[in-house]
């Protein structure tokens, strides 16, 4: 039952992100926070990562660039623990974009390099 609730929350959160209004991002953040809690109860890292990704997108939509970076780095950490890098290329590119937005070009460049390396790995497999 709790798993169904979790999946429903993730689905709802993703739908809210597509609305692209401040109110919808705020609501998405709430829904993804609930999803994060539920996924932690389940102890399912893949679902935890999904919820964390949703929170990063919500923060970005709300203009909280630094908050978004924090959650995206959390996504990378989870991937490392899982040994499953699915979606990391995207996260790396987004972190670099966000650093660019706040004018931290040093870190942006560092993450773009990681992003390009990850893209390169994807391409050769």
């Amino acid at each position: 039952a709790s798993l169904d609730e979790l999946k429903k929350a993730l689905r709802e959160g993703r739908a809210l992100l597509k609305v692209e209004t401040p109110a919808a991002y705020a609501e998405a953040e709430k829904v993804f926070n609930k999803a994060l809690m539920l996924s932690r109860m389940q102890g399912d890292q893949v679902q935890i990562r999904r919820a964390t990704r949703g929170l990063a997108a919500s923060k970005r939509g709300l203009g909280d660039t630094k908050g978004s970076i924090v959650f995206l780095k959390e996504v990378l950490d989870i991937s490392r623990q899982l040994g499953d890098r699915t979606g990391d290329t995207d996260a790396l590119g987004n972190i670099a974009d966000l650093y660019t937005e706040i004018g931290d070009l040093e870190n942006a460049g560092k993450y773009y390099d990681e992003y390009l390396d990850a893209l390169n790995d994807e391409m050769s497999t």
């Binding site: 290329t89 590119g93 670099a96 974009d97 660019t100 937005e101 004018g103 070009l105 040093e106 942006a108 460049g109 773009y112 390099d113 390009l116 893209l119 390169n120 994807e122 391409m123």
Partner: protein
């Protein structure tokens, strides 16, 4: 480092094109697709963009020590800004029109 915002603008431009073309295609494909099929179509769009733009994005990165390499990176930046019409894209630092 001054080439970094260009990578963001190039990624933004490509993503806008990809999303618009994917939307158009999904409209034509209708609701008959399975989740797995939708994922394959989405991956197709990402795969093409990533493979095409990896080179140009890489050309905007240099380690900043070799002066001739830095110069080349700047030339690449100006060429890409113009070719992909990136100047008018909205980027906070430039404060330009949208």
């Amino acid at each position: 480092l001054e080439t970094v915002p260009t990578i963001k603008r190039l990624r933004g431009k490509a993503e806008a094109i990809r999303a618009a073309e994917l939307d158009k295609a999904m409209g034509k494909l209708g609701d008959g697709l399975t989740k797995k099929q939708m994922k394959a179509v989405e991956e197709l769009s990402r795969g093409i963009v990533n493979k095409l733009l990896h080179g140009p994005m890489q050309a905007l990165r240099s380690d900043g020590t070799d002066p001739s390499e830095v110069g080349e990176t700047l030339v690449n930046m100006h060429a890409l800004e113009k070719m992909f019409d990136l100047k008018n894209q909205n980027v906070p630092q430039r404060g330009g029109r949208k």
